[in-house]
Amino acid sequence: MISKKGHSHADDVKITSRHSELLRNTAEAFQQLEQGMDYAVSVGLKNLLEDLDCHAIHLYVYHEITNFLECSQAIGGGKGIIVGDGRMPVSDKAEDKISQVYLGKQDYTLWDNDTNICVAVKRLQDRIGVLVVDRGATKRPVEEDLARIVDFANEFGLGIYNFRNYLNSERQRSRFLTFSKIWVAMASTMKYEDILSVILRSVIAELKFDRVKLFLVDKENNLLVGSLVADVRGVFQTIEQERYPLKEGVNRLVDTILGKEVPKEEGEISKLIFDMPLEVKGSRIGVMAIENIFSRRFISLEDIENIKIFANQAALTIENAQLFRKIEELSIQDGLTGVYVLRHMRQRLEEEIARADRFKENLTLMIIDVDDFKKYNDTYGHPFGDKLLQQFAGALMKNVRGVDLVGRYGGDEFLVIFPRLSQSKSTEVGARIIQAIRDAKYTIEDKKISFTVSIGMATFPDDASSKESLIKRSDEALYWAKQHGKNRVCLASEISG
């Protein structure tokens, strides 16, 4: 009930009816969900301002993550929205009257000779925030303004509560769609590299985090190894150089894997970082380091819940992909030398050519064989020749980069695919391999031997534009090297095509 002190009856009726009208108008604004909550709040504040004709009104809404009452909107006499950007911590201290009101320990508080009033905004037991009204130089009795403010505070409470429910259901719907999308993407491939890419891109694109780094456990070497980083700027790259021994105290990621207690970063920054272990059947196979350090958006409990659902599936998918890769490796490896079989090399060559074409890059193919290999077979027998090939393959693997692909072409001939290697650099790489293999000492069946190799190389797109023609041009170059003294490199560009 509004106090009627200081007014005539006719005035009272007019004011009360206007008050009801403004309240109704506020309630209607809160029903227009599609307009957004800001709109409804600004309508409500304007209505309250008109009702009270006061100096200023601030609406503070409680934010759980920060434990602050944050100024949502504010409005000032006759000047429209003035918007304060302030925030106040919520504390239990009795002298913090605004907190007391918010926490429900008192219904309202007054200060500065009753010019300021603070009233709780809530819906039944759900506390939402407070309305702070600076009445200015009004002569109206405080009880009257208080009653009007309480009416509006109730309207705000109900309206914001309903809005939140609406937004919550919208979020649930969008969450369902997000996860459906992610599961479909994960199920679309079994290829290990693609799976990792889908997982990281999902964290950025679907779960809306700024950056994620994926680390996986290397059980054989007892290490935590960086796998990939992806971020909202579009960065997507390997972080293989980040390797940490799995020993307590090395860093927070390792401690997360070991299940040790990880000290949290101090202050609000801790709400921008979250490390999510990837677990399969109780064993931690890796960790995702998730950060919102650019956007400064706090990682909420809901976010964490989403990450957990996602991580359970991601961990399982990664482990399946790792198993699949092992099986695949077994079927694509040459049983004698451990390098890839020709079928796989052909397939990879086609993929690498397509990739080089797409990114306008070079790619070089090498065919390499042991000079006079037949002599070793004839002199020492085939088992000796097999061991020589094993050592040759090992030496070759040692002398190429991690991204290069080594395979067996047949007999003593091997193929190497060098992504992003240009024609101009090929001679240098070929010469280095020739020298490394020639200078190495090999011991086979107690015999110390050394041997030389010949190399033919052709580069895409300079020397050939297809898989078959690239193999052909490399083979021709090898033939030329053999014809011209062996123990040498020949580039396809050096001979007529």
Binding site: S72, R233, E265, E268, I269, F294, R297
Partner: protein
Amino acid sequence: MSKQKTTLKIWVMNNRGYDTPQITQTEIKNFLNAHPNLDVEISVFSWSQAWQRIISAIKSKETPDIFQTGTGWTVTLSTLNALMDITDRVKKAKIKEKFFPASWSSCEPKSLKGVYAIPWFVDIRVLYYRKDVLKKKGLSELCLSTWESFEKTCDQINGIEIEGKQITALRVPVLKDQGLVHGVAPWIWSSGGDFLSSDGRQATFHKREAFEGIRYYFNLIQKGYAPITGRPYTSGMLADEFFLNKSCGLFFEGSWATSVYLPGFFDTSSTAKESEASEKFGIALLPSGPAGRSTFCGGSNLAISNFSNHPDEAWELIKFFSSVESQLRYCKTIGMLPSVVEALDFLLKKDNPQSRVLKDSCQKFGRDYPQVPLWASIEMIIVEELFNVLQLIKSKQYTEARLTEGLNKAAERVNYLLSL
């Protein structure tokens, strides 16, 4: 058949004291008169909500065509690939030279090699003072010109009674928000320090020069020249305390307060008269420190979203907002200062000390925070530490050793963040 209209969407923030939706709509009408095939849809957010709104929009790629961005936000939003690189457009239109350097710096962050926004309007921090307070102590504005004389003045006027009301020398921001950083920044710069190293990779606000500035600032508070007890005041409420309640003698605030509390100040008509308030309140440059004078130049930029389907039309609207006519109209209405030199000169053409202070603050002494992508998060750490210092003062546990320790810890945290 008539061609269907293109609708541009623009997000702007509320200007304190003004009905922004209405004012912006009115200004845009001038643009639409010349572009009948366009419509503009305006959404207005409060500053406290705008950042999260923009971030959510970017992440879902559902953005407006044009964003208003705080000067400190532009570099982060560009880093997040949210803003269009408009370097070529700017070159072609030859408009960079129209703006004064302090307003331009955040639009072309060194770390990004490109132009990502155009300055819209500027808010420069100045020192407001009560003429009656200085007069009572027989002081002139000169007493505010150096650190030394400023502190002496605070000491002289603190606690004096005017019209039966005891005043404090100063009021400073005490809420746990970026107002705290605005508060200390000019002192850090004036003593030769900065928040970060020039390459943006290391914290430097704990190093000697910056430390001296921070120490000076907190010493003023610790000596009781600026009260930190009582209820928390938002920036607007603090201005009320100074201009309306007259509870203090000196007050650092953005230039926005000039038009709100000194009505008619920006009236450029020939018949304009000084308002009554202008006779009571003066505007001074921030005091000069060991390394000279500096002040914080903030404000807003306009940027085209990278996800806009109408970048050409958006660019036309942005160019319109940077025209002298629009700058004058809009800035006069919302009480901000123009970023275009010609408009600024016109608006401050009156030959009076206050206008000179505002102009010099913009053109000679204004500077912005480090333009690094992680500034938003770095600022959060600094805010936390500055707030801690205020709590130490409040509980009478403040010492220089505690200040050093706190700043060192905060610097460690910032360096950790920069290393991620």
